[in-house]
Symmetry: C2
Subunit: 415 residues, 2 copies
Amino acid sequence: MTGSELLTGAVRDANGPWVARELFELGFEVVRVEIVGDRPEDLTAALRHAADFALVVTSGGLGPTADDLTAEIVAGFVGVPMELDEPMRDLIHRRVARWAQRTGFGGPALDEATRKQAMVPRGATALKPVGTAPGLVVRQPGGPLVVVLPGPPRELQGMWPAVLEAEPVRALLADVPRAEPRSLRFFGLPESEIAQTLREIGRARDLSAVEVTTCLRRSELEVDLRPLPGAEELADEVAEEIVERHRANLLSAEGATTDELLATILPAKGLTVATGESCTGGMLASRLVDRAGSSAYVAGGVVAYSNEAKTALLGVPAEMIAEHGAVSPEVARALADGARERFGAAIGVGVTGVAGPGGGTEAKPVGYVCFCVTTADGRVLTRDPVLPGSRGDIRERSTDTAMHLILRAAGGLPR
Amino acid sequence: MTGSELLTGAVRDANGPWVARELFELGFEVVRVEIVGDRPEDLTAALRHAADFALVVTSGGLGPTADDLTAEIVAGFVGVPMELDEPMRDLIHRRVARWAQRTGFGGPALDEATRKQAMVPRGATALKPVGTAPGLVVRQPGGPLVVVLPGPPRELQGMWPAVLEAEPVRALLADVPRAEPRSLRFFGLPESEIAQTLREIGRARDLSAVEVTTCLRRSELEVDLRPLPGAEELADEVAEEIVERHRANLLSAEGATTDELLATILPAKGLTVATGESCTGGMLASRLVDRAGSSAYVAGGVVAYSNEAKTALLGVPAEMIAEHGAVSPEVARALADGARERFGAAIGVGVTGVAGPGGGTEAKPVGYVCFCVTTADGRVLTRDPVLPGSRGDIRERSTDTAMHLILRAAGGLPR
C-alpha cells in the first residue's frame, strides 16, 4: 500500500485488509501488510524488504500527480525501463473525454495526466483500468511476482478478477495449496475463555498443526482454526469441542455474522423490521440497509433525536418522557412499539441512550443504553447495559446489540 | 500493528492511521505502518526492519491468549527477561473482579489471563491499563524507543496521554522539530487539476522545500503542504495561489471538512436539520449525529425505505410516486419538505436513489440519486447525478453529496 495520506492518518487503508482476505482465501500465507509514503526511497525499501516473497501486491500511487510513483519504482526494482503504452493512452483518453467535456476540466492538465497513467514497465502485463489507472503484473527472474493496483478500493476490487486471470498469477496459483479454515462465531464471550479451553484441549492432544486465532469485532468473537495440510480433521474436532463448551454464546458454527444471519432469516420467515432510534441516530437503520435485497425486510425507521420528535412521529407519550426520562426502558419500549405500528412491521426496535461525552448522570451515566425489541405476536426483549468507550464506540456497540436482539427475536440463534 | 486477524482481512486496522496522525502532528516523520501476524518470527523481523528508527510504536498482541506475544518478543528484541509485575497483576485483578462476578467468567481461566497480562520486560515503564493490558515503554541503548500498546482502539487511544508523559518519550519529543503543515480542502475538483497547477507554479519557482500531497476522501480533495523548516512562507504562498486558481471548488482554506464546517455553522446560525432518506437508509442522519453536541442542530429523520412509508410518514403523495417513480426529483423534494415540516426544522433534506446492485433501468441506472434540500425561508437546492461504484460506494457518496448540499444551503461555503 502506498500513499503519504495513509501515514498522516488522513485516510484508513481499506485495500490491505481486502487484498489480504482474498489472498488468504486463495491459500496464500499473508506475511505482512506494509504502508509506506510516496517517497522513492521508502517504496524501494518496501520492495527490497519483500524480495524473498513469492508475491507482492501494491496498491496506490498510480494517480496523475507527481507524487504518484509506484509504476516507475517497480520498473526500477525489476530493472526495466518505462514505456508509453499507446493503445492504453487512447483507451484512457476515450474514457475521460466525456467527463472532461461535461466538467470543463479538459486540456493540457488532463492530457499530461493521461500520458503519465499510460506509462508501463517494459514486459509487464497491463490490466484494463476500472477508473483511469491501468493495473500491472510485473515478472522478474528470481524475484517476487509484483502486482501493481490502483488505490481507490472500487478500482482495485473491480480489477481483481483480471489479476487472477493474468497468466503469471495463474501459474503462481497452481502451486498454492488450498487451506480449509474453520470459523466459529460467538456473542458476549471473552477471549480468555477460548484461551482456557484451548489450554485444556491442548493437555490431551497436540494442537500444533492447527493455528487458532481469535478476533473480537462488532461485539462478536470470531475463532479461526487453520489446519496445516492433513490436519483438517483435527481442526474440525477442536472446533466441535469449542462449540460444545460455549454453546450458550454460540452465534454460528460456520462463522456467519449477525448481519449475515439476519439477511437470511428475515426474508426466509417473511419478517420486516422497523426502527425507532435516538442515540444511534440512524446507524441501526443504515446497518440493516447495508445489504442488497434489504428492501425485502427493512420497513423503515425514525431517528427521533428530540423529545418532540419521539412524541410526534412515534407516539411516545410526553408524560412518559417527563416521568421516566427520554433514556429509560419505558421509552425504549414505546419507540419499538411506535416504529412497529407506524411502519406496519413484524419487529420493532427501540434504542435510547446516553452516547456522551456530556449528558451523563449518576443514575444514567454515559454509555447507559436502553434497548427494546417487540414483535407483532407479542414477544418483548429488553436490555439496558452500560456500554464502555467513546461516543462513537457507544453508538457502534449499541447498533451491534440491537442487531443481535433482532436476530434473537427472529429466532435466528442456534440452540 | 500486530494481529493475524488483520492479515486474514477480518478486521481493518484502525490504530495505524490514528497513531500515524498523532505522530505526524507531533512533528515526527512517519516512514512506515506495518501489519504482521502474531507469529514470533514475523514480529521479530518487523522490529529488526525498524532498527534504524528513533521510535517504534506497536499495537496489539497484548491479550490473554497464547497467540498474543508482543511483550515477550519486544523483550527478546531488546535482550531483557520478562518479569511478573505484582502490583500490576493486583490492579488488573481488581479491575476484572466485578465483571467476573457478574458474568460468571471467573476462576482459573481468568487468573491465568491476568498473570500473563502483568508480565513486563525488565526495566520497561509499564503504563496503567485502560482495559486489562498495560502499555509498555521500552528503552534500549543504541536502538529505537519501543512503545507497546494494546490493540483495541479505545484502549490504545485512552493510553496515549500517558505515553506522551512517559519520561523516555518526553526526552525524544524534545528533539523533534515541529512542522506546520497547511491543509486546503476542495469539493468536486479532480487531482489532475492540482497536479497541473503545481507544475505551473513550479515553472516560476523552486518548490522542492514544500512536500505537497493530495488525498481524495469522502468526495473531498485534501491538499496538504508540508514545508521543510524555513519554508513555511513559501508553503503559504503556494497555498494562496492554489486557492486563487480553484476558488470555485474551495471548501476551506484551513483544511476543515464539510462535517466540521456544518457542526460550526448550524448551531451558530441556530439552524436545525431533518432528513428524509431512502437509499442512504439512515446513513445521512447517523453522519449528522456523529458529533457531540449534534442534538443542538439535528431535529431527526425518517428512513422511508418503502413507498408506503414515504406516504404515511412524510406525506409524499402516492400519485406522485406512481407518476414520477420513487426515485425522482419530485419525490426527493417531497421527502425534504415532509421531513422539514414533520420535525419543524429549518432545513429539510430528501435523498432517493438506486443503490443497486439490482433495480436499475436505462432511464434510471444504478447510481442515479436525486437530492433536494429545502429551507424554511424558501430556498431549494437540487441535484440528480449518476454516482459510480458499488452499493456501499453509492450510499456513501450520496451521504457526502447531501452533507455538502446542507452546507451550501446553510451558507457555509467560502466565496
